[in-house]
């Protein structure tokens, strides 16, 4: 057990707030990523130009390092919390029943959906960012043909299926995490909380449906 002075700044409330803030920042990234990827619907040039605009900017390395740091904080803190929470109840109940008025599917599966998202993240980066490298020329500028890589990647129906499962899990994760962050930060107000919870559900659906639609779209693009 940590001494009083050392746990003051990392008490259970602050730990949850670190989870909440890092989670909200990651929500921001997921939303930006989804909106950016919408250029796929426009066509190959739009998507490649968007990708080139991002990767050719020298600031991208700072952005990537920052993103990695946020991910690490969120993941390491989650591991610490899960270990502590398991230790808080060494003997389990013989039988357990939820009241139906508190815990939800999303809230009770946060560690599972989190781990699924992490596995997905690794496969996703290896398959696309570090996937097959093609080059193309758009308006006289030579750039990576990430569009071709993406379409090719989703020609495998198993990839499409895996993506749908993974982003659905991510959607479930954020549907609890998004409103939960507000509660952890102390921003629970009877007037706004129902709206924040509604926004969390809407965001969860947007993430699941949006990214799934992109994967399915890519699958059918290749069949043309």
């Amino acid at each position: 057990m940590s001494s009083k002075s050392s746990c003051s700044f990392l008490n259970s409330v602050v730990k949850k707030q670190i989870m909440g803030v890092s989670g909200l920042l990651l929500c921001g990234f997921v939303l930006t990523h989804l909106l950016g990827n919408m250029t796929l619907f426009i066509g190959s040039d739009a998507f490649n130009k968007y990708s080139y605009a991002l990767t050719s900017n020298p600031l991208i390395y700072f952005a990537e390092a920052g993103l990695l740091a946020i991910f690490l904080v969120h993941i390491l803190m989650a591991i610490k919390l899960v270990i502590e929470n398991n230790a808080a109840r060494p003997v389990q109940y013989y039988t357990r029943k939820h009241s139906g008025r508190g815990s939800t599917f999303a809230s009770s599966t946060m560690p599972i959906s989190g781990v699924l998202t992490l596995i997905f993240l690794v496969i996703h980066i290896l398959g696309l960012k570090f996937g097959t490298h093609y080059e193309t020329e758009v308006h006289g500028v030579v750039m990576r043909d990430i569009y071709k890589t993406t379409i090719e990647y989703f020609q495998d129906p198993l990839h499409v299926l895996f993506y749908i499962i993974a982003v659905t899990s991510l959607g479930v994760h954020v549907s609890h995490g998004f409103w939960s962050a507000f509660q952890s930060l102390g921003w629970n107000h009877p007037k706004y909380m129902p709206k924040i919870k509604l926004a969390a559900t809407a965001f969860g659906i947007l993430v699941s449906v949006g990214f799934s639609a992109l994967a399915v779209f890519c699958y059918f693009q290749g069949a043309k």
Binding site: A87, A88, S108
Partner: protein, 257 residues
Amino acid sequence: MGGNSTDTMSLKLKIWRQKNSKDKGGMVDYTLDGVSPDMSFLEMLDVLNTKLITEKGDSIAFDHDCREGICGMCSLMINGQAHGPQANTTTCQLHMRKFKNGDEIVIEPWRAKSFPVVKDLMVDRSAFDKIMAAGGYVNVNTGNAPDGNAILIGQGDAELAMDAAACIGCGACVASCKNASAMLFVSAKVSQLALLPQGQVEAESRALAMVDKMDELGFGNCTNEAECEAQCPKGIKLDNIARMNRGVVKGLFAARK
């Protein structure tokens, strides 16, 4: 007493038995006939204990005191829910009419590292007293009882403070939380003082001190599941936890000690 129900019930009970804090313990099956639907849950256990004593057995230890739903002594995890299936109700106020003839009822003690089992269904909840001792009081001298309306308190604040003060410290929040977190209890105790003028002076340092003590005692972390709110016999709201969270942030930056 003396209700109109004449049909009695026969129940299959599965009860946690543990000789002392060092014993491993286990579930033991009992059959109990002649249970009146008008009995409270604890009266049903009294009947079982009378039967066990008559048969020269060891009676089942469980906590109880006022049996009026206000002392916070009764506990029991009944069929996997703190204080049983009825919302906003303590075990002593739960009646057997909530169950049917032939039902199997599983009865367990609160489960948490910070609530060690003393015997059978009794747990040691002195961890809550230690949290209270860490700051759950007003330190400043507030003098004698002031005139009735000398300190004006808005109706809304008074109601919120009273709602928080309804917490009886039974520990159902810890028992029902999947992480065995004591956040709802601590936040109710922080809020009942933080909402009123006498308590506001030390609001931040109090929140910080009580949270620190809670962590030190080995309770889990809150994951905002709200199962505590749902199973609390006194309907303590999750808003209190948010208020405490705000207090902790302020405390970290502004507390004088």
